[in-house]
């Protein structure tokens, strides 16, 4: 891990957000098994350091777009977990009034332009947000999170091209968790992702996505470039995916040994704790207290989500248009 020194409060906040994402996802997995969360969901556990390391550089009015695996990005961008949990339960108090669900959590107020059920679809939308910022001269930055699977969608390459020729204030944060759904990335991806970006003259940085300090450093360079008018950057962030593709995935295409090794060797929270202890930045008791506080918040969010009313049936027909007839 790098020797990066963040102020004490920010260090605690980094740990807290990573822990919050981890426990949010683990709790969602538990709650899924009760049958009270409808449908399926795609969990971000294992990848926390990526969302947190990138979003640390963003202001509330900066933009992000996300993937179908969007809970972590949402939390890191400041979307309230009460609303998110209620959204997953399909309740009226959800971030999107229960009409979006896990795969479409969005909160424009926080610059979160949406998780997305269509792979790579957020990339051009984020180019548009970056164009808005550029034309309005706001110095806002837009980050398009996408996975390794998205790299093989044509619109991703189109977006690289558009971002470069229009010199947009954008960062493409490509989280490579090794699998597009149930297929290994090596089986379906030719060449190198960083070289693909570099072929558009977009600077690319490959980074260990289990080291939040490394992600923070790389993202800092990328966000600064974007904010200062230097155009796009691509981050290739290598992360583990703790669960299967979706919550109902038996994940039997990975061996028990490799899954155990992944959790032992590539856990961003364990690594963080070890590092801050080694360099005496935070003590264990302080981190344990964060864990307890996170647990309480999640308990509260789940209880509130369970108690919240379902959307009124009239909500079926609203919000299709601003005004129709």
């Amino acid at each position: 891990m790098s020797g990066l020194q963040l102020p004490h409060d920010e260090l605690v906040s980094v740990y807290r957000t990573m822990r919050m994402i981890r426990r949010f996802e683990e709790r969602v997995m538990d709650e899924m098994s009760t049958g009270d969360i409808p449908g399926n969901t795609h969990l971000y556990a294992g990848q926390e350091a990526s969302a947190v390391g990138v979003c640390l550089h963003l202001n509330e009015d900066d933009y992000i777009s996300s993937t179908h695996r969007g809970h972590g990005h949402s939390i890191a961008k400041g979307v309230e977990i009460d609303g998110m949990m209620a959204e997953l339960f399909g309740k009226a108090s959800g971030t999107c009034g229960g009409k979006g669900g896990s795969q479409h959590i969005a909160d424009i107020r926080k610059g979160m332009l949406g998780a997305n059920g269509i792979v790579a679809a957020g990339a051009p939308i984020t180019c548009g947000a970056a164009l808005s910022a550029k034309l309005q001269g706001t110095r806002q930055v837009a980050v398009a999170f996408a996975g390794d699977g998205a790299m093989n969608e044509g619109v991703m390459s189109e977006s690289f091209n558009l971002a470069k020729i229009w010199n947009l204030p954008i960062v493409f944060a490509i989280e490579n968790n090794g699998f597009g759904e149930a297929t290994a990335n090596e089986h379906v991806s030719a060449g190198s992702f960083t070289r693909r970006a570099e072929s558009f003259d977009i600077p690319a940085i490959e980074v260990d996505g289990t080291d939040v300090f490394a992600v923070y450093t790389a993202a800092g360079e990328a966000v600064e470039r974007a904010r200062n008018g230097g155009g796009p950057t691509m981050l290739h962030i290598l992360v583990p995916r703790y669960y299967g593709h979706y919550s109902g995935d038996p994940d039997n295409y990975r061996t028990p040994e490799e899954k155990a090794a992944m959790r032992q060797e590539r856990d961003c929270l364990v690594k963080f704790r070890k590092h801050v202890k080694e360099v005496s930045l935070l003590d264990t008791a302080e981190l344990d207290a964060v864990d307890d506080a996170v647990e309480e918040e999640i308990d509260r969010a789940v209880a509130a989500a369970r108690a919240a009313p379902l959307p009124q049936l009239s909500a079926l027909l609203t919000d299709v248009y601003v005004k129709y007839l």
Partner: protein, 335 residues
Amino acid sequence: MAKKSFRQALNEALHSEMARDPSVIMMGEDLTGGAGAKGVKDAWGGPFGVTKGLLDAFGPERIRDTPISEAAFIGAAAGAALTGMRPIAEIMFVDFAGVCLDQIMNQAAKFRYMFGGRAKTPLVIRATYGAGSRSGSQHTQALYPIFTHIPGLKVVIPSNPYDAKGLLLQAIRDDDPVIFLEHKMLYDTVGEVPDASYTIPFGEARVVRDGKDVLIVAIGRMVGVAEEAARQLAADGISACVIDPRTTSPLDEDTLLEEAERIGRVVIVDEANPRCSVATDISALFADKCFDALKAPIKLVTAPHTPVPYAPNLEDAYVPTPDAVVKAAKSIARR
């Protein structure tokens, strides 16, 4: 009032709205033509000359010639609309929607609903449509049924220069995503168009011609076909009412039902392919809501269930003609 072409009417609307509202930007392929080249600037002024002169007036930051990357720039337009701009994106031929339908259908159309009403997406997508230019199967379709089917989109199909200007101004000021379809064979048609700005509300059909024996519903270029048919029918003593819905989403069901109930005999003319089309949609509306008032079967005059052919004689046979409309009207007018 000044006579202007359909093309000029659209150009005026774009000029006046860009001057009025700095958040309006345009992007598309060859909106100017010649970008990055050494020769004439604004060389094309758009593939059909609709956007001529905008570059001079508003500059390349607001008039953006894009790469041939519909998925990227339609997506970017959707994203810009979501974040405070009012983009007008142009798909050169609506057939190219095939490569960017995700951004229209899954993204822009659904933001507001999926996001629980917190988003608005004031996006206009202009595209040419329609047969008649001897361009074969991939530059000629009338794909408005696809867009009309999708909740969240509005679909506008002007039939004349006056409506073209008023509907485009409404589209740009509208807070929802609008698909604005321009029949390429209408660009040179001429009509009276005021110099001043005016808007035409969506969902308000125009009664093109009053009549009492048969109701002809037609949209886009087919309105002219219906009018010609009505003139021929009048010569035979049949009085035809022609209605142009102008927008297929929202659809002015009230006016359509009122006239269908009054007249009781209906012909629907549609340049689109016949299955799951606007013609079948309006026909279903009548069958469902005013069946008892109908005095004869509803007649549909549409393109056949084929791609648009290239050979001139085949393409002419593909597009509904006044003769076909007259024949359909006569088959029910005296029952």
